[in-house]
Structures are given as structure tokens and as C-alpha cells.
Amino acid sequence: MKKLLLATAAGALLAGAASAEEIKLGMSLGFTGPLESMAPGMASGAELAMKEVSDSGLLLDGSTVVPVQGDSTCIDAAAATATVERLITAEGVKGIVGGMCSGEAIASLQNVAVPNGVVMISPSATSPALSTIEDNGLFFRTSPSDARQGEVMADIMIEKGIKNAAVTYTNNDYGKGLADAFAAAFQEKGGTVTVNSAHDDGKADYSAEVAALAAAGGDALVVAGYVDQGGSGVVRAALDTGAFDTFVFPDGMVGQALVDNFGSEIDGSFGQNPAAEGEGREKFLEMAKAAGFDGTSAYSAEAYDAAALMLLSMAAAKSSDPNVWKNSVMDVANEPGEKILPGELAKGLEILNGGGDIDYVGASSIEMVGAGETAGVYREVAIENGELAVIGYR
């Protein structure tokens, strides 16, 4: 029995080290739940990168990449943990694009991914708490921490002359982290937060929450919530009662659903979400269009980059074992080396196979800092005539 086990283990090791294989990459995204309208765009982005690499035939002697989807639900940590458990133990994935939301990502990372030694690269979990988490080098994200978003949001508001604001956040790690980061940054820049209170998702009626926000007052209302959930409920109640006219929307709210829900009622409101400009992004948008999905969908580009980073790191480490290739992620993402844009993954693989260095730029201008997160470029948007308009990048 012992010998048999040894033989199988050795066989598995050999298989991992040489010859073409079928590499499974998991996706733990919230296909149902408060961000369900964003998840398909993210999955399409990640699958686009996987397909590109598979088609090139250049990864680890012509290995193919197979995506495996799992539903993280975004809010139910237990469900997300079970999903990641299934991806790792039953499907045997070599890396996971996810989790999607911060709380769920923290839970599945700590409970399953770290004990099993599998890398997670999240395209969209932005809680500052993930910067300092104990992850054995297994967690990265292609989105910046919300500590940065809080500052960007505060800057935009101060520039627009908004000196005091009410803040409402969805009652979880993402909402609280972002709201606190924003409050600190805003106060430092001379603004006043009149009230910083939570709202729970999934309620029928937010008039009581809005009444409390209205009583505290402010020139604008910062809604650090989810567009498919309580965030929209709060905005609806605030518009109905006339409590606020100007809203500030962070990343969880910026999406097509927002203008679908409110149209020109929220003209004059503005927000920001992580999204880079430049050649990489343009290229990604073109590729997405050709593949038949909307590349501007929130975090779609980041998901592409997460999957691409994983596969390039495997090539750099010459192994699909997460505990080996996790050490290559920072090298692949940062200088020195040839800059790699979306659609150039084959070129990157070729360089890596030849022992060269690359600097993956990708669709969202990846530049990894600190504990494996991007420095962060934000897209400033405004709602004009019932449409999302891009104002600029910062």
C-alpha cells in the first residue's frame, strides 16, 4: 500500500514536471448574489486569457488550460468556502481567479486555499484587510486596495467642492473597509463626514436608513454598496424622498445596472472604479468585442489579467504547481523585461520559455506593489443624461 502510494505520488510529480497536461484553473466568482450582473463579464475576461494561452500551445510543452467555474455568491462565506473546496479537492485546479468580494475571498483563502497551498488571484476583492492578511504568498490581486480608492474618491469630491458628505456602506468587509478608508482620507483633506452608517442588503425598504442619512445631511451621499442590492435600494429611497440629489459611487455601484435603474434621475452624480487607460485596455476591449462580450464591464479586464498572470507565472516557473509558481508572480508582473499587452500572451510565453524576462502590463496596467496588489489606476465617471461617461483616469 505504501509503495503504491509512493509510486502514485512520484507519478503525479513526474506528470507535473514534464510533458503536456491539462491545467485546470478555477474561477470563484459571484454568479449569483449582489454582484451577479458583473460576474459573467469577469468570467468571460478570464476565459479569454485561458483560451489565448491554450491556443498558443506554448505553455509547459503545449499544455491546455481548462476553466472551471464555481459560484462564490459574493456574500455567503460558507458557500464560497465550499465552492473553493470543491475546485481544489474535486477538480484539482492549479490556481483560482477569485474570490470576487472581500469577505468571501478572505474566508475561502484562509480556510481552503492557504491550507491546500493553492494560489488565488482576485480581480475584484478590494478590502484593505487583504493587504495584511497571512497568506503564505498565495494571494494576489489585480485590483488595488480600497485604501487607495478612498483617497481617490476624497480627491475627486474635494475638487468638485463637496466639503461634507454622508456615507452609507453595505454591512460587510468590503463596505466597511471602503467607508472607513474614505472617511479617513476625506477628513484629512478637510472634508466632514456627517454620518457613516451601514445598510443591510436584501431589504424591501430603505426609507428608515435614508431618513437617518438625510437627518445628518450633507452635500452628497457616498454609497459604498452593491448595485444589484441595497445600494440601489438606498439610492431609490433617497431620490424618492428628495434626501440627496448628488451621489458618489465607488466600484461596487459603477455598472450598467446603475444607469438602467436610475437613468437621468442621477444626472450630476459621479464615481470611480479601478480601470486603466492606455494601449492595453484598448486592445483588451477590441479582443472582448471580437469574443462577443463587453470588455468595459467592471473588473472584466482585471479578471483577464488575473488568469494571464497565473499562466505566465507557470511558464516562468516551468511548473504548474502553485507552490512553485507563486514565487514568479511578482517577477512576471513587474519590471524588468519586455512589456506584454493583452493578445500578446504567446509572445510572453515564448520569451519566458527562452529564459527571458517579461513585464506583464495587461489590460489594467498591472504593477504589483507591497503584498501583491496593484498600485491602482481609477477611472473617474460621471452620469450625464442617463449615461455613464468617462471623465478621466487618475
Binding site: H199, D200, D205, A208, A211, A212, A215, A216, G217, G242
Partner: protein, 335 residues
């Protein structure tokens, strides 16, 4: 001017929302109290029956909308309401036939009925989710506002705005009509009197030739109508999600018990009492106070409880009433 501003803020954020919510609770509590008074048990399946009736009404509404039928400024759901009521009536009559009649024949203790109704609750819970799913559904159409905030500010020049949604007015009007019809039925018609007689003293009613099964059927049908109307109004005014309807059970029961179980008048008073308490306790009064007492700038928000604790208000009311006046305000039956 400041007093007017205070009044408008109070109306906008406290009075109007609480009145609409109170009317919805009152209709729900009327159903609970009717079933308690005549069938003698607390029906835990109430919230989920509301969800079922509303789900059917929503589906019918969508059907009507796709046919291009609408009521103009009124929501199309009003047209679909009779279908919802009929379906709910069939459902509760079927449940009575399958579940409750068995226990009635056994003359089972009320607590057994209550437990059976918990089982019914779970089944209806699943049924509704099978039919329409777990998600939020919006089905309101027609005119959204009677008074719009921006228009109101322009007309009056006040700093505070006032919004009056058409669904809020609709809720109050429909509730008034339904309550009037119910009281007329209970007090003036032969069937209503038979129901009250059965409620007061079952044996005596039997002796005077009242058919008990008929009374039971009548009760379920009326309860189904009340339940569906309450559910549809709540869904129109706020939004429909099966889980929220399940959660409504608590404030509805609080309302029925505060008013006195078995007392229709009590149910209505209880509904408004619970709604106004919930809103008033969680509303920050700082703005209203600021208008009434200029120059006084309190540090806090003058909010007794955070809005997260809204449900706790129902609990507190329930406990206080059960401790000090178990029969409720209108001397219903003690629990």
C-alpha cells in the same frame, strides 16, 4: 417658516412612510386576528401565504402588461389582484382540507395547529420560490408620484421637500375600503354574524344551526383576500422578495397582539402603532429639532435606536404588551 419645514420633514420621513407601512401591517394583522378568532390558532404561514398571493398577482400583472393592458395612472397589479386572491383562496382552502381539517376533527390543542402551520409555512415558502424565484421583483407601473420633491420645493419655496408616492396613497385608500367592507360584513350580514357567533362560542353556534365547515371556509376566503391585498400593496409600495415577506411575520403578529388577538379594530390600531413606533424610534430627530429650536445644535443625531435594530422594536412591543396587558389594547383573547 421653520415650523413649516419641521412639519414637512416630519411628514416626509416619518408620517407618510409610517402610515403606509402601518396600513400594510394592519391588513396583515386583520388576517391573523380573523384566523385566530375563528379558527383559534396563530397562523405562522401568514407571511408566506402573502408571498404566494403576491407572486401570483405579479405573474398575472406581467401577463396583462405583455397583452398591453394597463390601468393608466393606477398600477396594473390592481387588475391582477382578483386572480391572486382566487389562487390564494384555493391554496388556503386546499391546505385546510389536507392539514387543518384533520386536526379540527380531532379537536387538537391550539399549539398543535400552530406547529402544523409552521410546517405549512415551510411548504408555501418553497412553493413561492419555485414559482417566482428568490429575487427582488418590481411590478409597479403607472404614475409614481402624486407629489414630487422637486415640484414641491418649487411650489412652496421651503428647504424641505415632500414626496407622496401614488402607492402610499393607494395603500391607505384600499385599506380604508377593505376595512369598511370587512366591518360591514361582520356586523351587518348574516354570514358575518354567523362567523362572530362561531368565534364567541362554538357550541352555542352549532346549537343554533350554524354550519361550522361553512364558517371555516368563509374565514379562509376572507383571510386569503386580506392576505393577498396586504402582500400586493406592500410589494407595490416597497418591493417583492419572498424572504422579506417571511420576515413581515413578526411585525404583523406584534400588531395583532398589541391590538388584542381576535379583535379586528385592535388589529388596525396595532398595525399603525407598530409602524409608527418602528419609524419614530429609529428616526434621527436632529433636523426637526433644529427647525423647532433654532440655535440649538445637538452633537448627536437624536436617534434612539440605529436603523439596523428596526425589528427589535416589534420584539419590545410584543414583550411589553404580553407582560402588562396580555389581552391587548382592545381586550382580545389572551395568548
Amino acid at each position: 417658516m421653520d415650523i413649516l419645514n419641521a412639519l414637512v420633514a416630519f411628514l416626509n420621513f416619518v408620517f407618510i412612510p409610517a402610515a403606509a407601512y402601518g396600513a400594510q401591517l394592519a391588513l396583515g394583522a386583520l388576517g391573523v386576528t380573523l384566523i385566530y378568532g375563528i379558527l383559534r390558532f396563530s397562523n405562522f404561514a401568514h407571511g408566506d401565504t402573502m408571498a404566494f398571493g403576491t407572486a401570483i398577482t405579479i405573474l398575472t400583472t406581467w401577463g396583462l402588461q405583455s397583452l398591453g393592458i394597463s390601468l393608466g395612472v393606477l398600477p396594473t397589479a390592481l387588475l391582477a389582484l382578483p386572480v391572486g386572491i382566487a389562487a390564494t383562496a384555493l391554496l388556503v382552502l386546499g391546505t385546510d382540507r389536507v392539514v387543518y381539517r384533520f386536526y379540527r376533527a380531532q379537536k387538537a390543542a391550539p399549539i398543535i395547529f400552530v406547529m402544523a402551520s409552521v410546517g405549512v409555512m415551510f411548504i408555501m415558502n418553497g412553493l413561492t420560490r419555485l414559482i417566482i424565484g428568490v429575487d427582488d421583483q418590481r411590478f409597479d407601473d403607472g404614475a409614481r408620484f402624486i407629489i414630487n420633491v422637486r415640484d414641491f420645493r418649487e411650489w412652496t419655496g421651503l428647504a424641505e421637500g415632500l414626496a407622496l408616492r401614488s402607492t402610499q396613497v393607494l395603500t391607505l385608500v384600499v385599506t380604508a375600503i377593505v376595512c369598511g367592507a370587512l366591518f360591514w360584513f361582520l356586523n351587518r350580514t348574516k354570514k358575518g354574524k354567523a362567523m362572530r357567533a362561531y368565534s364567541d362560542n362554538e357550541d352555542l353556534a352549532l346549537l343554533s344551526g350554524i354550519d361550522p365547515e361553512r364558517v371555516v371556509r368563509m374565514t379562509w376566503i376572507i383571510a386569503a383576500a386580506l392576505i393577498t391585498i396586504a402582500g400586493v400593496l406592500y410589494g407595490l409600495d416597497k418591493s417583492f422578495r419572498p424572504f422579506n415577506y417571511f420576515q413581515l411575520l413578526l411585525p404583523i403578529f406584534a400588531a395583532a397582539i398589541v391590538g388584542g388577538l381576535g379583535s379586528p379594530l385592535g388589529a388596525i390600531a396595532g398595525g399603525f402603532l407598530v409602524a409608527f413606533s418602528e419609524v419614530a424610534v429609529t428616526y434621527p430627530w436632529v433636523k426637526v429639532a433644529g427647525y423647532l429650536a433654532p440655535g440649538w445644535q445637538p452633537d448627536g443625531l437624536l436617534q434612539l435606536l440605529g436603523t439596523e435594530y428596526k425589528f427589535a422594536v416589534s420584539f419590545v412591543i410584543l414583550i411589553v404588551v404580553l407582560l402588562f396587558r396580555p389581552t391587548g389594547l382592545f381586550r382580545g383573547k389572551s395568548v
